[in-house]
């Protein structure tokens, strides 16, 4: 989905596509565009009809195909954009499914459309720190708060490592793209450039997918977005023990945050990653706050 299609939907002039980060649509309130510089309010007020229309367009009139995603409160649409949604949660009743778990979300009242951006070259500044002297890629964890550009950075990193850089030859990269955000696959074909040596397992749960691609595609590097569960940890441990480098992202604001989360703390203790890259939102998303080694010593600026 591009700016022309959004312009068609909202029928109002939009800010430059590259500058839009989020579009907020709430019933009864004006549509808000969040850009790098701030917010822009549109004249159009969202109503239930607009929300229904948007959901129809985003899901291609097939909300049933996004059942599992809706249950988690978001859906990833063509182009890799993520649409978060809230409304009234419907829970499973006894005998119907896991008791207390969410069956679906109805009466959807607000959408948060987070636009995916492909910024080629945004990972260039961190590349020198991610290779060892033999041209091999160090296992790297990107840490940033939401909206600070870790997925965009990971995407560019995958592309650069796959194609080859001044620091090392091109390496086969396998991507387990659980939420279809990295490759933005449409009918199996990635819409984003992830490099010529990249294989993408789309819409597959990370923990299962990592083991699958490890066996089937024999990658040199394996990339996943937003890790955090115990199952992810187990799969990553297995991958790391097979001699495959890992590229992953996680929510956080500082290197110290990792130790506060049980699963991540274990990854740090196990020295699963030899590089930690912390990103921040200001002055712009993707700003490097620090790069650390396995012992969490700052290496940024030393190379």
């Amino acid at each position: 989905m591009g700016i022309e299609e959004l312009r068609e939907i909202f029928k109002e002039p939009l800010p430059a596509w590259e500058r839009v980060q989020e579009i907020r649509v709430r019933i009864g309130y004006p549509i808000l565009f969040r850009t790098e510089d701030g917010e822009l309010e549109m004249k159009t007020c969202a109503d239930r009809r607009l929300l229904r229309e948007l959901l129809g367009i985003f899901s291609k009139h097939s909300l049933y195909a996004f059942e599992d995603e809706v249950r988690q409160g978001f859906l990833t649409i063509e182009g890799g954009h993520r649409v978060g949604l809230v409304g009234k949660a419907v829970l499973y009743e006894a005998g119907e499914g896991p008791l207390g778990a969410i069956k679906t979300i109805r009466d959807i009242s607000a959408l948060n459309i987070r636009l995916s951006h492909e910024k080629k070259g945004c990972a260039d500044a961190i590349l020198p720190y991610l290779y060892n002297g033999n041209g091999e890629v160090e296992s790297t964890l990107l840490i940033s708060p939401p909206g600070a550009g870790k997925t965009t950075m990971l995407r560019d990193l995958i592309r650069r490592i796959s194609n080859g850089t001044a620091y090392g030859r091109g390496i086969g990269v396998s991507v387990v793209d659980e939420r279809s955000e990295l490759g933005a696959c449409f009918q199996g074909v990635p819409q984003c450039d992830l490099g010529r040596r990249t294989d993408i397992l789309d819409a597959c749960p990370k923990a299962v997918g990592m083991l699958m691609v490890l066996r089937s595609m024999a990658p040199g590097v394996l990339a996943v977005d937003e890790i955090g569960t115990a199952a992810d940890l187990e799969a990553m441990r297995y991958v790391a023990n097979c001699g495959c480098a890992l590229l992953a992202t996680v929510h956080g604001t500082a290197i110290g945050d990792l130790e506060k989360k049980p699963v991540l703390a274990e990854m740090v203790r196990d020295r699963m990653f030899s590089r930690y890259v912390v990103l921040k939102k200001t002055p712009h998303p993707g700003t490097i706050a620090g790069i650390f080694d396995a012992d969490r010593r700052e290496v940024y600026g030393l190379s």
């Binding site: 129809g56 367009i57 291609k60 909300l63 049933y64 059942e67």
Partner: protein
């Protein structure tokens, strides 16, 4: 010359009988094809979790390839709906489906009730969850089974009747004119 003309007229009337029989057979074949279409759609939606445009494209291409005339229409119908959804995402699926069913050729060998059942199929497709899609498709199959059973039961007799009537009318015309 006169006899050649008579012979040609008799052949035309006989041919009309055969044509009517063929049309009956084509009606049955088309319904069987629509039934197959629904089985394919069911597989695409429930097994591969395809969205409607993806499912329509896959099944439409499969049904269209290698067929001509009316036999290609079920596949072409799906591809026309898919194209409309792709080009104009704002049109609800039910509206696009209904309009494309109405655009089937006027002489398309399908009864009015079968057309209505086909048009109704689009009303609930895409709505709610996967179970709802399954129920909608099964409901169409149930309704179509009745028509298929009727056509199968009647087809042999009717086709024979149309052919015989055509030949009898041709002979009668010949006798009358000679």
């Amino acid at each position: 010359m006169k006899y050649v003309g008579i012979l040609m007229m008799a052949a035309a009337v006989t041919g009309a009988g055969f044509l009517a029989a063929e049309r009956w057979r084509e009606r049955l074949l088309l319904l069987l094809q629509f039934r197959q279409m629904v089985y394919y759609l069911k597989g695409q939606i429930l097994y591969t979790n395809a969205t409607l445009p993806e499912a329509l494209y896959e099944v439409g291409t499969k049904l269209r390839d290698g067929k001509r005339g009316n036999r290609a229409e079920p596949g072409l119908l799906l591809l026309r709906v898919e194209r409309r959804l792709r080009e104009d995402g704002k049109t609800p699926f039910s509206v696009a489906w209904q309009e494309e069913v109405e655009r089937l050729p006027a002489d398309f060998p399908m009864s009015k009730s079968d057309r209505q059942i086909l048009a109704a199929l689009g009303e609930n497709l895409g709505y709610a969850d996967r179970k709802m899609q399954e129920r909608t498709l099964l409901f169409y199959l149930e309704q179509t089974e009745d028509s298929i059973a009727f056509l199968k039961k009647e087809s042999d007799g009717r086709m024979r009747l149309y052919r015989c009537m055509g030949m009898a009318a041709g002979l009668f015309l010949m006798v009358l004119m000679v």
